[in-house]
């Protein structure tokens, strides 16, 4: 059984590799976004040294690592699942001897490995050459960051699968998918670090799963969060991973009994 899933990872990786040219321009696009936020933040800092617990140097690193982290964890599984449900091809998937949700997770992983090797890593080197970024020198910190980044991937993929599975219940979940995307970009700390948010809204953010996707790993990477607290944050990520299994399981077991294919 495991070998089947490994094969799915490999197939997705190879499929992505066939379209790798798209990713060269992807690196430039991410670099442009990082550059735009870099100049804006530089202007915002002006002569203030610390805002929201971050110095300008840390902020630059934060922006770069957050976008390049996104290059790794991002995928379109929600859209893929919704399309398969709408055009009815999910019916074929259901009769195959594997678990549809696992298959999607593995396809996401294949895409993630591809993105890590051919997008995030060269992208980070490229950005490091362009902008004044302080990379941590402690190998332990790199190791912790990579583990946290893997959790980002898991949590983001779970949210994508949950959003996609809603297509079983809503005939058109386009609006939901777009709102999820805005929510992830905004509440995960990709656009603004959570520590910039004012009082009450910061508390709300800390109770949502989104901060585990970008803010926590990036804050650890830039050295905003240090020491024993790092493991606490890692714990929060692990906790969200386990909590999100529940809605995913419930949705999946409910949806199999109510599939109807429109048209077809």
């Amino acid at each position: 059984m495991l070998s089947a899933y490994l094969e799915i990872i490999r197939m997705r990786f190879l499929m992505m590799l066939a379209y790798r040219v798209n990713y060269y321009s992807g690196i430039l696009i991410y670099a442009l976004n990082i550059g735009s936020y870099y100049f804006v933040y530089k202007a915002i800092y002006g002569d203030q040294t610390v805002i929201g617990g971050l110095t300008l140097g840390q902020m630059t690193t934060y922006v770069a690592i957050s976008w390049m982290g996104r290059a790794f964890y991002f995928n379109n599984l929600d859209r893929e699942i919704a399309t398969e449900i709408r055009d009815g091809s999910v019916a074929v998937q259901l009769i195959r001897p594997y678990n549809y949700v696992y298959v999607k997770m593995m396809q996401g992983l294949g895409e993630g490995i591809f993105r890590l090797v051919l997008f995030t890593t060269p992208g980070m080197i490229f950005i490091w050459l362009l902008l004044p970024i302080d990379l941590p020198t402690d190998p332990g910190l790199w190791a912790v960051y990579l583990v946290m980044l893997f959790f980002s991937f898991l949590i983001n993929t779970q949210l994508n699968i949950i959003t996609g599975l809603f297509a079983f219940f809503l005939e058109n979940n386009e609006g939901l998918m777009r709102m999820k995307r805005v929510a992830v970009d905004l509440f995960s700390g990709l656009i603004i670090p959570i520590s910039f948010f004012p009082g009450w809204s910061k508390t709300v953010m800390e109770w949502l799963p989104f901060q585990a996707i970008t803010y926590l790993p990036s804050a650890v990477f830039t050295g905003k969060i240090t020491g024993a607290e790092v493991f606490g944050k890692l714990g929060i990520q692990a906790l969200w991973f386990f909590i999100l299994i529940i809605p995913m399981y419930v949705l999946w077991s409910r949806s199999r009994t109510r599939l109807f294919v429109q048209g077809g």
Binding site: V21, N22, Y24, S25, G26, L28, I29, L32, N33, S36, F39, V40, K42, A43, I44, Y45, G46, Q48, I51, G52, N172, E174, G175, R178, M179, V182, D185, L186, I191, I192, F196, F197, P198
Partner: protein, 261 residues
């Protein structure tokens, strides 16, 4: 006259198709606004932490942002040719366009109208008027005319750049990925050019003139003392760039030989 009546007929047609799926239309409007709201939200949060962004205060930045949204929304409404290469060149649809009596680019624009984006322009206008009042800017009788002139100039800048890039499809049928790249550069026009370094400022002014779709024309109203002359260049740049864009397009259409099959 013929061209205007075409616009009205295509708009009617659009409304009819859209009213069949009313909820989809509103979902599209809402999510467009949400995506644009992200940037508004960014500005609002950031100004809780600081008083100035490179010497500009919150209302001034909001004014530029509001202005930026207006030509942007208008441009997207009329120019929605993102999949041009796949939909028209690879599938050979361009042949059909060329047999139509209207000018081919006009015909293409009409077939792809997207009036849902007008709501983005409307939201931008609301933000701009709000900050106009908050800033207590003087209001001259000629300001509305200047504003219209600036918006037309900005839309023409967009049109010139994107028509030129879309024409690349006539010369190479492989996707180049250059359109999304340029698409991300335009976001730089949303903030004052004074925050960028010299190189970027030069690029945004003369090569990919996206400073003319946001900052320069908006600065005409908020800081005319320093930026008046750059702002008045907006319509000139618009005419120059759209002329170049349309010339490349016409040259490309002449070269077009159909996709076979």
């Amino acid at each position: 006259m013929f061209y205007l009546s075409l616009v009205i007929d295509y708009l009617k047609n659009y409304m009819k198709t859209r009213l069949t799926y009313r909820s989809d239309f509103w979902i599209e409007v809402l999510s467009d606004l949400l995506f644009n709201g992200l940037n508004l939200f960014f500005i609002l949060i950031v100004f809780l932490q600081t008083q100035s962004l490179g010497g500009w205060d919150q209302e001034q930045i909001l004014f530029i942002y509001g202005y930026f949204m207006i030509p942007y929304g208008l441009f997207i409404t009329f120019f929605n040719l993102w999949g041009f290469s796949e939909r028209y060149i690879v599938k050979g649809e361009m042949d059909r366009i060329l047999t139509r009596p209207a000018y081919n680019l006009w015909q293409l624009m009409l077939e792809n109208l997207d009036p849902a984006s007008l709501f983005s322009a409307l939201a931008g206008a609301v933000v701009m008027i709000y900050s106009w009042v908050r800033l207590g800017l003087p209001f001259h009788w000629y300001d509305p005319f200047m504003f219209i002139l600036m918006v037309v100039g900005s839309v023409l800048v967009y049109a010139g750049v994107y028509i030129a890039l879309t024409s690349l499809a006539f010369f190479s049928d492989a996707p180049t990925g250059i359109l999304p790249l340029i698409w991300n550069i335009q976001n730089y026009g949303r903030y004052p050019v004074t925050i960028y370094n010299k190189l970027l400022r030069g690029i945004l002014t003369w090569i990919l003139p996206f400073a003319f779709v946001g900052f320069y024309p908006a600065a005409y109203f908020i800081d005319p003392g320093n930026w008046k002359w750059f702002a008045l260049l907006t319509p000139v740049m618009g005419v120059v760039f759209s002329f170049v864009g349309i010339s490349i397009w016409n040259f490309g259409v002449k070269r077009y030989r159909g996709a076979g099959s």
